[in-house]
């Protein structure tokens, strides 16, 4: 992890949802501040964790980072380039470099497409690999990279288990060789014995491909395992942003301490439980 220019810079990011009243003429009476002034940086090659409870704005923040939602204010810069105001071909080029893995492996894959089609779709969208055979080869490479057998290219999502589907989602996200991978609760919907497989896969891929990873979870233990630095969010704001050791060893914000104290088993003698 070299010191140097950050890969992603987020400054003063704000997203408001208006609450309207009035029957015919609607007027805005209140505003939901889903994201309320968030600033942070992501250094190349690191894993940044976003942790918080339901409604804290972590998912909204990363969607703003990727321009899946339009921010109400603030800016996002990727590699120095402005993401917030990019348009057309510029935006498309930026999109190639940031990709996302979603939480629910059961609904994030189109059930009517084969796995090969799903993983190959990014190539089609961005007009890369026009040669069909070349694309097929690339897809099979990707499937192998995530630990799936390339022979299952023509299968449909329902023929795979939850953990395998999540791998498919990861393969799809890596198709275009992005520099930034955002994982939004990638293991929350999986069985415990499978979670470790996917987490290890993400760590391996990160070191193999030199990815920068933004990892969202509500599970503090998972964040501890995966992330170099951690941002704790609450009600749309970052409450604490610190290195892994600092956050878990000497948390500063009271909310962080409250979260850590709530983890089951936190109160028992740490040495006797769980080895």
């Amino acid at each position: 992890m070299s010191a140097g220019a950050p890969l992603v810079q987020v400054r003063g990011l704000v997203k408001h949802f208006a609450v309207t009243r009035g029957i015919v003429l609607k007027r805005t009476v209140a505003v939901v501040r889903a994201v309320d002034g968030v600033s942070f940086e992501v250094m190349p090659g690191e894993t940044l964790g976003l942790v918080g409870e339901t409604g804290c704005g972590k998912s909204t923040t990363v969607r703003l980072m990727m321009r899946l939602l339009e921010p109400s204010a603030g800016e996002v810069r990727f590699d120095g380039r402005d993401v917030t105001h990019a348009r057309g071909a510029q935006l498309k080029a930026l999109r190639r470099e940031m990709q996302m893995v979603f939480q629910d492996p059961y609904s994030s894959l189109n059930p009517r497409k084969t796995v090969g089609a799903i993983v190959g779709e990014p190539f089609a969208i961005h007009h890369l690999e026009p040669d069909r055979a070349g694309r097929r080869r690339r897809v099979r490479e990707l499937l192998e990279m995530v630990g799936l057998s390339p022979e299952r290219y023509d299968r449909y999502p329902h023929e795979f288990s939850g953990g395998q589907r999540q791998r498919i989602g990861i393969a799809r996200a890596l198709a275009l060789g992005p520099r930034l991978l955002i994982a939004d609760e990638p293991v929350s919907a999986l069985d415990v014995s499978i979670q470790a497989q996917v987490l290890n896969l993400l760590r391996e891929l990160q070191s193999e491909l030199g990815l920068t990873l933004v990892f969202i979870s509500h599970d503090l233990s998972v964040i501890r395992y995966m992330c170099d630095r951690v941002a704790v969010m609450r009600a749309g704001k970052i409450v604490e942003l610190a290195s892994n050791e600092q956050l878990y060893g000497a948390p500063r914000a009271p909310y962080t301490r409250e979260l850590l104290a709530s983890v089951p088993g936190a109160r028992r003698d740490r040495r006797t439980i769980l080895g």
């Binding site: 069985d191 470790a196 497989q197 290890n200 599970d219 233990s221 395992y225 088993g265 439980i273």
Partner: protein, 369 residues
Amino acid sequence: MSAAAEPLLRVEDLRVSFPTEDGVVHALDGVSYEVARGGTLGIVGESGSGKTVCALSTMGLTRGQGAEVSGRILFQGRDLLALSERQLRSLRGGEIAMIFQDPLSALHPLFKLGAQVAEAVRAHQHVSRAQARARALELLELVAIPEPGQRANAYPHELSGGMRQRGMIAMALANEPKLLIADEPTTALDVTVQAQILALLARLQRELGMAIVIITHDLAMVAEMAQQIAVMYAGRIVEKAPAELLFSAPQHPYTWGLLRSIPTLERPRDERLAAIPGAPPSLIERPSGCHFHPRCPYARPAHARIDPALQPLAGRPQHSVACLLEAPERARIWSELRAGRTPAPAAETASGAKGSDEAAGLTAAQRRR
């Protein structure tokens, strides 16, 4: 054992299977456990372990679906499986109550919370509507819902997740049950709310002397809440022990796998999670012999043929495990794992290994009585 130590609930060799379009689902395959009066049992398992069916069959809620159930479920000495539907109904929500995983879908969306709690009261007590309503408000207060009068008039979707789960608990407590079965009670909740709900359950247990069965996939939760823990895999209990013993000296490779693959706050970050390879099996086509053998790093060829029986450890009868490996072998492997080393599989001698495998289990034919 004296009468006072007679367990509140004793399940003996429970087997449950369902016919479905894809084949027969063998949800439970000879499960036995006990719950002491006022005690807490944690049943740990993943999807496809059969843990939820375990809970539902105690209440007789599997009956409507063409399930085949055999075995005995003794609640205070009475076999619940031998009771008529009407007798069971008087127990359900009465002496045995259950709370479910997702309170948003487990509460009726179109009835107010107070009305649903009051209905639970009137189901088992002959009281007027007004009395039931008053009791409902008392119960909502008992579970620490602020402003219970207002919340009672709210619909479930108008309440937060924590409030809803407290409401469910209030509903379950309406008739002062002796046994509360909690099926993944906090999985759908935020971590701070989880902690509150678990604290609430612990307090209620103390105050009411209620026994609790907690069903979950979260080992950390049972570490905190349960005195006894049963680990389930593919419809069988693979290990059963008091909590301290389970965590200090686990015996089953699946338990080891779980303990080592779950990230915790205390683990050093560079210690890699050791994932269990493969995935939990389908309950329609289970692996032969020991159900865990395809994923077990220490399995031997014979394990595919022999069903392990759940047997107590020599010298520690309260700790049982269903594993075909010999006890000393297991101890060796676990001490290696604990030290962070990968254990080498022991050399298998032809006679020695086979003899103890068969001693530890019954043949497949014997299992299928």
